[in-house]
């Protein structure tokens, strides 16, 4: 991790140069998080880490993003590579942009060793798409994992109490 981080930014699927800039920003942020997470981890294991990471590992964007950008709506994908002590690892980031706001983000980790998978996981889980409900009948299921059915008597009691409260 003392090696300088390498970052590549791939072309956007749609959108123009401005879209690329967003890709860069996202990748930079993610790599920064990765670097931070790694550093935190390494701190706990300094006795085993042969080469402790330094803050220099942060990535510099090739072109600094300017303050006022109006970006085209669309979906952009970028690949981010970063160097670890077990070699180069990468992540793929896909974002959907609408009126300059990221409406959807998807990060796919492409690491194969356990530790990188672990760290990629920890920040992949930081991305939070909104869940979508589908009717159970539509999905054809016989089993549903759910919070326990309400115990017998609980709802009765609740109804009674609500009635009391109204009277």
């Amino acid at each position: 991790m003392e090696n300088e981080e390498k970052r590549e930014e791939q072309s956007a699927q749609s959108g123009g140069g401005a879209g690329k800039a967003v890709g860069v920003i996202i990748v930079v942020v993610i790599i920064a998080i990765a670097a931070f997470a790694y550093e935190q981890h390494a701190k706990q294991k300094t006795e085993t880490a042969m080469t402790p990471p330094t803050k220099k590992a942060m990535v510099q964007p090739t072109s600094a993003p300017t303050a006022q950008l109006t970006l085209k709506d669309g979906t952009y994908t970028a690949e981010g590579d970063y160097m670890t002590h077990v070699g180069q690892k990468s992540i793929k980031v896909t974002i959907t942009l609408k009126k300059d706001i990221i409406t959807n983000a998807d990060v796919v980790g492409e690491a194969d060793d356990a530790m990188s998978v672990h760290f990629q996981d920890s920040f992949i889980s930081g991305y939070k798409p909104e869940v979508l409900g589908k009717d159970i009948t539509q999905v054809h299921l016989t089993k549903v994992a759910e919070s326990s059915l309400t115990p017998n008597g609980f709802n009765d009691a609740l109804t009674k109490i609500e009635k009391q409260a109204q009277s």
């Binding site: 996981d121 909104e130 409900g133 016989t142 089993k143 059915l149």
Partner: protein
């Protein structure tokens, strides 16, 4: 796999145990009796809703209690998770639940709440003994059902069944000698006729926890001992693990602490936060439906 099922009500929930279709009626009868006896025995020990249980006795009298043979795994995991969750996951929440109205009579009338005592001030646990320094209402609702699912599954496995699924009100363990997996829907926290995804399990348990059921006043059944309010950052959790005890316990812990705090245990999970945002471990074996915004 064609199955037949044993169904009954116990510990306040519906049980459905799927077993191979060709199990003869004599064996079915035998299994049902055995399982019900086991559940009755467990309930008689751990239920705080029964006047004759060991837990009810503990609530009235301090002293040294001999725990049943099967107690060790559950007590040990409770003690460990108590530490890992910054003392949030605790059986001593019992008194808080009762005071909030979630008592044996379901009075659902909240009284003044007090912070539960520290584990070490009340409990001295060294298997097979539990020393209570003062009487305390212990609540094993966060993992007890999971553990009971494991105990039932153990019985079925010993009986040599090639296939079974023990489903207790939506928490379940699935065993199959063959490789076929079981598809399990993940209930939408706001709409029980919908699912937000489908998980697949095999020789594993899946347990869910949510604040959408057992709701009264401003409370639901997961109480934070530090704030004395019901947790609200997380709406629902699903955990897959090798035992239902672990899956059930972790499903509650995720209401209190991030998953990475619990990494000494092997599990995968998904959760929906208060904004209906999904968080999931990458190894969670499920297809999850998420909104794609149109561009």
């Amino acid at each position: 796999m064609q199955t037949t099922s044993l169904q009954f009500e116990a510990i306040g929930t519906h049980w459905q145990i799927d077993i191979p279709y060709d199990t003869n009626s004599q064996k079915r009868e035998f299994l049902l009796e055995k399982v019900i006896a086991l559940i009755e025995d467990f309930d008689k020990t751990y239920s705080r809703f029964r006047p004759d249980s060991l837990i009810t006795k503990m609530a009235t009298k301090r002293g040294k209690y001999l725990l049943p043979k099967n107690a060790e795994k559950m007590f040990t995991i409770y003690k460990d998770l108590y530490e890992l969750t910054n003392y949030s996951f605790t059986p001593l929440i019992g008194q808080v639940l009762v005071d909030a109205g979630y008592d044996a009579a379901y009075s659902l009338l909240p009284k003044k709440l007090y912070h539960p005592p520290k584990w070490e001030d009340v409990i001295d646990y060294s298997y097979p003994y539990l020393m209570l320094k003062k009487p305390a209402i212990l609540d094993f609702g966060a993992a007890g059902k999971g553990y009971l699912i494991d105990l039932v599954s153990e019985v079925l496995q010993k009986e040599g069944l090639d296939y079974f699924c023990v489903d207790a009100g939506g928490d379940m363990y699935f065993y199959n000698k063959k490789n076929d997996k079981l598809r399990v829907g993940l209930e939408h926290p706001d709409n029980k006729s919908q699912v937000i995804g489908v998980a697949e399990i095999h020789n594993q348990a899946i347990c869910a926890s949510a604040g959408n059921r057992r709701r009264w006043r401003e409370f639901h059944h997961i109480m934070d001992p530090h704030t004395l309010t019901s947790t609200h950052k997380v709406k629902a959790t699903w955990v897959i693990a090798e035992t239902a005890l672990l899956a059930d316990a972790i499903a509650t812990c995720l209401f209190f602490v991030p998953a990475k705090k619990l990494q000494t245990y092997k599990f995968s999970y998904a959760l929906v936060d208060k904004n209906n945002r999904l968080e999931a471990s990458k190894d969670f074996p499920a297809e999850i439906f998420v909104k794609k915004e149109s561009s």
